[in-house]
Structures are given as structure tokens and as C-alpha cells.
Amino acid sequence: MLEARKITVSYDHRVAVAAVSVTLKNGEATAIIGPNGAGKSTLLRALNGQIRPSSGTIVLDGEPLERLNRRSISRRIAVVAQEAELRFPVTVLEFILGGRFAWATNAGWGWETDRDLQVAHAVLKETELTELSGRLMNELSGGERQRALMARALATEAPILLLDEPTANLDLSHQATLLSLVRNRCDQQRASALVITHDINLAAQFADNILLMQHGKTIHSGTPAEVLKPHILQEVFDVRVLVDAHPVTGGPRVTPVHETHRQEKGIL
């Protein structure tokens, strides 16, 4: 379990995250939504120990994060960030085996064990990348690379997954596959996930809790039904929205209503 208690993060005297609390419980998926610049990615970086909060504490399985060493954190928290540029030719398999680094007994000059390879093979299959395992990362499409990033995070076998817009480059079918992978980890292996997304409907369908952020602060947090209310969203995103029930899941469904639509169709 990962818990942030009233953490504040500032860069050069500018407050990026202000007194935000969030708890990632085992078996639950949480989505963070909010406009650009709301402090979502900064919060994620702080939860992983990359940025130290100026006040507040982050607790991982009952221990303050700053007291844990890097490798023991990486065995428990995996991050899927937006992709970095690759200038060296690395195969998909080599890339994914990078996720096993924190488990190596000899971190500097260790070699992958059979277990490492088994794990890599399993996640290649889960992310439908088995056939691409020998290809070079920079020959892949954006969507394939995004899946490789996901596969590497899964290869860490960390029970806590932090994902920063993991579906940005994916087509509809792979979006669904990826989110069901995350959901399965939560449901079957009692993992917890935190997903930053701009897709509110995706968040509504997939997350147990939603954290709505703006200007570094928590505006609302709770179940999708509690957070996704028209007046709340209108205030934060500055756009009129229509919220109705999703025909299949019954959960909230959010549709932005643009000015042009209103004028053309004469509605609202």
C-alpha cells in the first residue's frame, strides 16, 4: 500500500502540488484527471520518490519512502511514463529485461536468470509483443513502443503501478487490452494502480476512485459517480458537459458540449 499524506511539492518557489493526500489500496485502481498543469505528473513523480516533497510524508507498506533504498522501492513500485527517445539500438526483449534490474543479486554485472526470462516471456505474451521480441525498439510504431513500456513495468512484478497517460499512443483495441491488464493485476493479484489520463470516460469505466486535480490541489476525490458531476467538471475544465449513464456499465458517461455544436444544432 502506498499512501501520500498532505504532500506539497514546489519547484523554484512555485507550488506544483499543494497538500494532496492519496491512498493506493491493494486491489484498487485510482485515476487522476485534471487540466494540463494541474500537478498530476508531479504527484506521480513524488509518489515514486523521484521528487522529494517539501512537506508531508509518503508511506510505502508502513515505511517512510525516503528511508527505503532505490532498488527495494523499484521492486514494489513500477512506473510507465511517457516514452523517452532511444538513440541506441536495443531489442524489445533487452528493453523489457530492464524491468528485472531491481531483482538482480548483483546489480552492476549481473546476468538475467531463467526466472527473469520466464517473466519477460510472460509479459511479452500478455502485451502481445512476443513476435516483436527480437526487433529493435526504434523500429517499432508509437503504439508498440508504448506497449513495450507497459511490458517492462509489468516485468518488474511490482504490486504498485503508476501510469502516466499510458494509452496516449494506443488504438482503441490496445487501449482496452492495456487497461484490462492493469485491472487484472488489481483484481487477481491485489495490485494497486494509479493512472493519469485525459480520457475521463476511460477513467470512469476502469477506476475505483477518481482524484480530480486543478492548480496543484485536490478538487474532489471519490468514486466515479461522486466526482463526475456536471457542475464540478464544468468549473474545472471550463467547458459545458453532459453526464448521463453509460448504456453498458451504468456508470457515469461524460460528453463535452462545444460552442459550435450548440450554435449549429440549436441545443442547450
Binding site: 538513440r87 541506441f88 531491481a102 554485472w109 538475467e112 520466464q118
Partner: protein, 347 residues
């Protein structure tokens, strides 16, 4: 279970393993030894092969029929020079591989980034202030290289690592700044030393120093070992500092290790032989091309390959217009510059 096992074999087929690393390095080591022996026979004074081999095999305890002069040429001139060439080549190639991982850019090279110039300024300062004390040269050169490395790192680093344009620009700035420092210091020297000094700046192994040879060899071996022992961290660092951090690399510590080791390697080789260019670019590139990007194999292979490359280049430099000599840096640049242009066009 059987299907899992066979799948694992398929998955591991295109991957670097300990076995592949050991075999590749053993082959390179044998070729290197062979080159050391053969190149010691070649030169303006041709040495009889059989007698020389016999003398080398006895490690200099028996002359094996070589004349006094031939024996001295072999053991006092050629072998020390070849061993220094090996140490310098191994150092520069290892340092290049280290800088490339650190700056996340295959174009990083100590000479092109101005780091060799930093070490050269350091060597000159040691020459002026501690003249006779040869030991001070690699030490002050190391400090010079370290300062230049930090400057390049600060100038070149962007959010997404060092882009090629930014990196080269940073290198040009540091190189030109330090070149003018070198010019300034050179004018303070007396005229007789300037010519030998210009030669040294281009990378010259003819002034092999007895005192610095063991230093250069020790630093080369130790540096290659330390970086190889961090190879798995460097593999992840190559993909980005953030990713490496997320996956469990103590980025800050590894970065300091690479800074120190690479600067030490450049410092000791420049103090011994001046700025031999492009070795750190050509050799790691060839290592990656033939063996893959995994630093666990490419760093030790680059170290051995760098030694081989500079031994061959120096043999060409001292024989091609014999009895006169070229600085070895002229030969390595002749090979390296076209490759650099090719890599730049691809980047």
C-alpha cells in the same frame, strides 16, 4: 513446463549472455596479444622474427641471438610504445563508451567534446609548475578532464538527454575555449619545446615515458573493470535517467562513478600521449555494431578493441613515411572523422 522451457530458449536466442561475452573478449584478447607481438617486429629497423619471438617469450631474460641494439630497440623502444598505445587506446575507447551512456548519445567522444583538451591544459599546467615530477601530470590532467566533463554535461543536457546538436555545440564551445587556453600557455614556452609540443597535442606516442607507462596501464585496466561492473546500470541509464531511476538504478551514484572513471581514463592517456582523437567514437561504435548495445559486452570489447586500434594506427604512423613519423592522432582522425560524419547524418 516443456513448452515454457522451449519458449525461454527461443526468447534468449538474440540476447547477450555471459558466455558470449567471455568468448568475444577471449578472442579479442588473443588478437590483441598477437598484434602486440607482430607490431613489435615492424618498424624502420626490421627485427628477425624468430629471435624476437623467442626473446619476447622469455620476457626479456634471454637475447635469443638478437644483437644488443636489436634487443634494446625491442625492449626499450618498441614494446613500451606498443603497450602505451594499448593502454591509451583501451582508456579512450572505454571512456568514450562511458560518456556515450552518460550523455545518452552515441556521438559523445572525449576528443570531440573538448575533454581531451581539458586534460591537455592540465598536463601543461603540471609541466610548467611541477616540471620534473612526471606523476603530477596524469593527476592534474585528470582534474582538467573532470572540469571539462562537468562543463559539457551541464551545457549539453536537456530534458530528453543530450540531443546531437546540443552535444556537438557544447563540445565546440568547450574545445575552442580550451584551445585558446592552450595557445596562451604555449606562447609562454620556449621556442624549442613548441614543436614537440604541437606534435604531442595531436596525439603522439613517440615520447613514451618510463614512469607513466605503468600508470597508464593500471588506469586503463582498472577503469575498464569499474565501468564494466556498472554495465547493467549503464544499460538503463542509456535509455534515460528517469527510466533508470524508476527501474532501481542509483542514478546519482552511477553518474559520479562514470564522471570520475572516464575523466581519469582521459587524464592518464592524455598525460602520456596527448590528444589521440576519435578512438572513443570509432571503437565503441564498432563494438555495438558487431556485438549489440549491451554494455556488459560492449564496454570490455571496446576496451580490448581500442587497444588493438591504437596499436595498429601507431604502427602505421611510425612506418608509413619511415624513418620519419606521423603523430598517431593524425591516423585515428583520418579513420574517425568520416565515420563521425556518417553517424551524424544518421542521427
Amino acid at each position: 513446463m516443456i513448452s515454457t522451457a522451449s519458449n525461454v530458449v527461443v526468447v534468449s536466442a538474440n540476447r547477450v549472455t555471459l558466455r558470449k561475452t567471455l568468448v568475444s573478449c577471449a578472442v579479442l584478447a588473443v588478437v590483441l596479444l598477437f598484434a602486440i607481438v607482430v607490431m613489435s617486429l615492424i618498424g624502420s629497423e626490421r627485427l628477425p622474427a624468430r629471435a624476437s619471438l623467442c626473446a619476447i617469450a622469455s620476457l626479456g631474460t634471454s637475447a635469443c641471438g638478437l644483437s644488443r641494439d636489436q634487443f634494446d630497440i625491442l625492449f626499450q623502444i618498441r614494446l613500451p610504445r606498443i603497450l602505451l598505445a594499448a593502454a591509451v587506446g583501451g582508456s579512450l575507447a572505454t571512456a568514450g563508451a562511458g560518456y556515450q551512456a552518460l550523455l545518452r548519445n552515441p556521438l559523445a567522444e572525449p576528443y570531440l567534446l573538448g575533454i581531451s583538451n581539458g586534460a591537455a591544459v592540465g598536463t601543461m599546467i603540471a609541466l610548467i609548475f611541477f616540471g620534473a615530477n612526471e606523476w603530477m601530470r596524469p593527476l592534474v590532467a585528470f582534474s582538467g578532464a573532470l572540469i571539462a566533463t562537468l562543463a559539457v554535461y551541464r551545457l549539453a543536457r536537456g530534458r530528453a538527454g543530450a540531443t546531437p546538436e546540443r552535444l556537438i555545440l557544447a563540445g565546440v564551445i568547450v574545445t575552442t575555449f580550451l584551445s585558446s587556453v592552450i595557445v596562451f600557455v604555449t606562447t609562454l614556452m620556449d621556442a624549442t619545446r613548441i614543436r614537440s609540443f604541437t606534435f604531442w597535442l595531436l596525439g603522439d606516442l613517440s615520447g613514451t615515458s618510463r614512469a607513466l607507462l605503468p600508470v597508464a596501464i593500471t588506469v586503463a585496466v582498472a577503469g575498464a573493470l569499474v565501468l564494466t561492473l556498472h554495465a547493467r546500470s549503464l544499460n538503463l541509464l542509456m535509455l534515460g535517467e528517469r527510466d533508470a531511476f524508476d527501474l532501481g538504478v542509483e542514478v546519482g551514484r552511477v553518474r559520479v562513478v562514470v564522471f570520475l572513471v572516464a575523466s581519469l581514463l582521459v587524464g592518464s592517456s592524455v598525460a602520456a600521449s596527448g590528444s589521440v582523437g576519435y578512438v572513443g567514437l570509432v571503437v565503441p561504435h564498432l563494438a555495438r555494431l558487431s556485438l549489440g548495445s549491451d554494455n556488459r559486452i560492449s564496454i570490455p570489447a571496446a576496451a580490448l578493441g581500442g587497444a588493438l586500434f591504437v596499436i595498429v594506427a601507431d604502427t602505421i604512423a611510425r612506418t608509413i613515411i619511415a624513418p620519419r613519423e606521423l603523430p598517431v592522432g593524425a591516423i585515428t582522425a583520418l579513420i574517425g572523422a568520416p565515420l563521425f560524419i556518417y553517424l551524424l547524418k544518421r542521427a
